[in-house]
Symmetry: C2
Subunit: 274 residues, 2 copies
């Protein structure tokens, strides 16, 4: 198949490199900044570059890797150029808002929302990796797509080396991502905003390092993702704050049994589920 | 020197193994459960085992590795047995309560509180490692100890392979540990207590893994540590909750500028300090 990777930042360029490394598909690349396209071609991360007008009509699958705001405009602007019966997908970290809006449109291609669940604390083409997805889940959230198209997309994800593929609803995706990813970033940031953080050197070990890692964050992108997933994320913040306040009360009242019970529950989840 | 390691759980046995691997001191081991002592001797983790009455009077340094509650009773019960002019230290994760109480006593040995800042999600002798401290800080919190004794203890820590040694007050230690370690454990537990945690498989990546890691916790020990460090830890919980609520408000009001500002501050701390 001809696969167009639009947007060659961290995720897009990693998608292109994974396709090149692990599949025999013809990989076309496009990026707003042309110098990145030229670099990707020189690196062998893509087989072909060109204008959108040249590349879009040839693509059996178009994978859009932009900031959340730019995905719907890109699809609507190019809706008459996509190849008939082709698949158009994206890698944006929230799905309900995008998928539920696009399912109302009549296209002669199939849109399937997706989320390759991987990232790094650094961004941009230069940090992309062919193996970024080797331990990651590929989640797709089709709404009105034919089964054959879903199967094709999932098959490509498997070829690319994703460890797991999950097909679910946009709403379930967003609720789970609020928990597994968004709140983890919110709490890592909230943690390092303590007035004591700047003095931590010499007093920190693995727990500080791990809990704070994802506070290295691209605020421009994540602020939009947080707002686009407002309700599920606020639910998670409320759950987290309530649990923190349970610890606070138990510590204040020196209620060792309650503290042990809270930690036993947490430990059980980590032991049983990981 | 003759060094007695009392308590051969995860930390104590790792101390013994590090002393054996990296120093030429004579290492004596004692543990309440005798089978552990025999195993340690067989493994070469210690050079000598015996009763407390046999070992304590010979020790130039005694390192106590018990649960927080058991440290002061152990020192008081044995106060007339410790060698004159010897050093007695412990590895407990909170220091103010223990050090400020012991400094009131008149001993013919020198007590210096210490905290070898390392741990694992697993506990017990069988999980101990000679290299547990190779990236760790050794923090000691002397109150009325002579400089020569502090220097001796710090020198042994350096020989054992600690990456850093820090000498500070018990109060500063406890405040910093509330931030770098205790609150990290509280928030990891609070995080996995979300009702969505049991469903996370397939939807989680590195951020879930890292933020939740230290929710594998020994609640029996940590509940005591939390209560013994009540005020600093409650301050940290309050700071964390306030920061989470700043995110909540900004998300609710769709205040992207505020979200970007919060994340830019967090990102700056991680970039500049780590």
């Amino acid at each position: 198949m001809n696969i167009l990777v639009a947007g060659l930042g961290l995720i897009g360029a990693s998608v292109a490199k994974a396709l090149k490394k692990y599949t025999s598909h013809h990989v076309m690349g496009w990026n707003r900044t042309e110098s990145v396209c030229i670099k990707a071609l020189q690196d062998g991360a893509v087989d072909e570059i060109g204008t959108l007008d040249e590349l879009i009509p040839k693509a059996d699958i178009t994978i859009i890797n932009f900031y959340p705001d730019a995905i719907i405009p890109f699809i609507m602007d190019n809706k008459d150029k996509f190849k008939v019966d082709s698949i158009v997908t994206d890698s944006c970290g929230i799905k309900t808002k995008i998928c539920r809006l696009l399912e109302k449109e009549k296209f002669n291609f199939t849109y399937i929302g997706a989320h390759p669940m991987a990232g790094r604390e650094v961004s941009g083409y230069d940090n992309s990796l062919a193996d970024l997805f080797s331990n990651a889940s590929f989640i797709c959230t089709p709404t009105n797509a034919p089964k054959a198209k879903i199967d094709t997309l999932v098959e490509v994800a498997k070829e690319m080396g994703f460890a797991r593929t999950v097909v679910t609803t946009p709403e379930h995706h967003d609720e789970m991502i609020a928990f597994t990813s968004q709140i983890a970033h919110v709490l890592a940031c909230s943690y390092v905003l303590s007035p004591l953080a700047p003095q931590h050197t010499g007093f920190s070990a693995g727990s500080y390092r791990d809990v704070s890692r994802v506070a290295r964050i691209n605020g421009e992108m994540w602020s939009k993702l947080f707002i686009d997933n407002k309700e599920p994320l606020i639910n998670e913040i409320d759950d987290l704050v309530n649990n923190l306040l349970k610890f606070r009360t138990a510590i204040k009242e020196e209620d060792r049994a309650e503290l042990e019970s809270l930690m036993a529950q947490a430990n059980k989840i980590k032991e049983e589920i990981g």
